[in-house]
Amino acid sequence: MTGAASPARESSAAQTRPALISIRDLWKQLGEQQVLKGFDLDVATGETLVIVGRSGGGKSVLLKHIIGLMKPDKGDVLVEGESIVALTERQLSRVRKKIAVLFQSAALFDSMTVEENIAFPLREHGLKDAAIIDEKVAGALAMVDLAGEQKKMPEKLSGGMRKRVGLARAIVTEPQCILYDEPTTGLDPIVADSINRLIRRLQKRLGITSIVVTHDMKSAFHVADHVAYLYDGRVYFRGTPDALRASTDPLIHDFIEGRSRELLSDD
């Protein structure tokens, strides 16, 4: 079931919605490794697309291309039909106001309090009114179930709380799309589940388009409208979570089951 040959198993609803993000024939080499080899993908407005694949398979690299943090060797990334590949860092600011990112490490600014972290994008986007900023920060924190934690420093927060604050910082500017880079990695199952529920809640309440990169299949099945399986630098499968579960393709089956075919000496 290679990328070009794979049937697109998409719901009719997703097919009729316009693509917010389109990736066309994306190629990227890092060092000796060809990470992306002609990657194609459309993400419809309002959908939650989960991109799964093995660690080191290029999922995070792909996310960085979507927001212009990396430039491809070849190919194009379109946001609302506008190519962002040739834009300069300053021109990309306009695009980046539409798309927020929750980084794998949350990437909170460690010299700032929780409140300052969340208010940072508001202030940078030109909002001056302290009362409105406070209100928006409180609203974003309430949305991620961290009301009243404004004054804490990031180093005082647990891994799950850091992710939540990172998420609050991402949603406070009301972006059209949020990119999640391994949102549940390194968290215990209970906290991971709460993050998954949060992603669903944000999609339902705010109608935000979401692209989630993960290798956590439980998380993928929980939050996805559609799943894309990244294999060998291309989309190997794209379809609904049910279609992924029902797949008889050995590669997909092994990935879902977490089964390695490598023979170990003690087996």
């Binding site: 980046r96 106001k97 980084f103 990437a107």
Partner: protein, 263 residues
Amino acid sequence: MTSFIRLIGQNVLGFCGYLGQLLLLAIDSFRSIFTAPIRWKLFMGQLLEVGYRSQLVVLVTGGFTGAVFAAQTYFQFHRLGMDSAVGAVVSVSMFRELGPVLTGLMLAGRVGAAMSAEIGTMKVTEQIDALRALGVYPVDYLVVPRVLAMMISMPLLVAECVGLGIVAGYVVAVVLLDVQGAYYLDYMLSFTGSRDIKMALTKGFVFALIIVFVSCHQGLNAKEGAVGVGRAPTEAVVIGSLAILIINFFLSMILNAIFPAGI
């Protein structure tokens, strides 16, 4: 033989590439200063860190250098009966060479290391990616406040270093070694002029740019992991210090043509 030539070629190309990256960072920073809004709060914070908090180390360096330089000069000149010339030698040396170079070296160690470590840590913990993702250009946010703070602080720190060096030299020569104070001052003032002050401040300004761009570049290009973050400040200090010493020679030759030493 071919591999040796290739190795030299690779190093020369690598060095040219590095200089090119520094130049691009400098151009980008100066463009930002004139086109992007200045973040005054960050600038004031850097001014406090770079300027105010560096004073002790610079004053101690300047003071003891002036003192020991006056003593050593006296020991040599005393045999020739030229005690009163000590003030002129200390003053001109502090202004034209010792003050700017020692201040530069101390700041390359204290401030350069801190800058590259801080920015390097931000790089490997994805905070710089987060800045970019939030629509903030890292040069505007991280480099420009540091450049402005260094450009303002460094000449003032050089002035402090030179000033205390001369005072310490006077105390050692006149109070401890019994040089005639009036002659000491008269010779010093005869041989020291505004040309020496201009040379000191110009060098301070140039060294400030070397330190800040080398350090910020090392931080922004820090490699992943603890080793990468650890290497960034080490390289910033080594490259910054060597660059100051090497450029100081050429700067001295050029500035001596513009501001010639002597009466």
